[in-house]
Amino acid sequence: MEDKKALAERLKKLIVESLGIEDVTPDDIKDDDPLFGDGLGLDSIDALELVVALEKEFGIVIADEEVGKKIFVSINTLADFVAKERKM
């Protein structure tokens, strides 16, 4: 199983590629940067795209908006959640 640092790098790449973000590279995203609002600037549409991407990549189903709000805070919170819930 990949370590947290490798997982975080993979998630950054997944975010940039699955959301089609053109002006940010994975290396630009810090592990504690907010993903929404003033941070990376993602919105609710991006959140749903991220849900779809996480299901494809890791087999994780996120159907509850409240769960989404907690795990999409930053790369760190997302990596912790994926490490715990991943099925592939």
């Binding site: 609710s44 549409i45 959140a47 749903l48 795209e49 849900v51 299901e55 996120i62 159907a63 989404g68």
Partner: protein
């Protein structure tokens, strides 16, 4: 389950000539459904868009998919005992992506609009849609809505 045009009008705000679906079949609310539209000489777009061809504008196929998806998302409110507050009252199309056209629908054709929920989170729903004339696929794409 099958729903008529009157049922559709009771759920989504579109009205003729913008209403582009005649009925909805095989509905599983919030999951999937199939819209149906028969294209006739009376349709406003016939004779006004590439007149010699008598075809439905391809962009309207996307609108028809969107209307079908809107009914699948909100039509459960028609069921006996449904809590009206559990269903959206309005939805806005906020993104279309990965749209491909591979054919046209012509006067006399019946189009079938297949929509399947890909995922939802809070007030955002994403559907995958496919349009067919008979067995021939003429359009596919993904549609995302924000609902209230």
């Amino acid at each position: 389950m099958r729903f008529s045009k009157n049922d559709i009008i009771a759920v989504i705000p579109h009205r003729p000539p913008v209403l582009l679906i005649d009925e909805i079949q095989d509905v599983q609310f919030r999951k999937r459904g199939v819209g149906v539209r028969r294209i006739t000489a009376d349709d406003d777009f016939i004779g006004t868009y590439l007149p010699p061809e008598g075809i439905m504008p391809r962009t309207l196929l996307i609108e028809a998919l969107a209307q079908t998806a809107a009914f699948v998302a909100a039509g459960g409110k028609l069921m006996p005992g449904a809590e009206q507050g559990d269903y959206p009252t309005i939805g806005y199309l906020v993104r279309i992506a990965d749209v491909f056209f591979s054919g046209d629908a012509r006067q006399g054709d019946t189009i079938r609009l297949f929509v399947d929920l890909v995922s939802s989170l809070g007030a955002v729903y994403k559907f995958a849609g496919v349009v067919r004339v008979g067995d021939i696929e003429i359009c596919r794409g993904n549609l995302t809505f924000s609902v209230a």
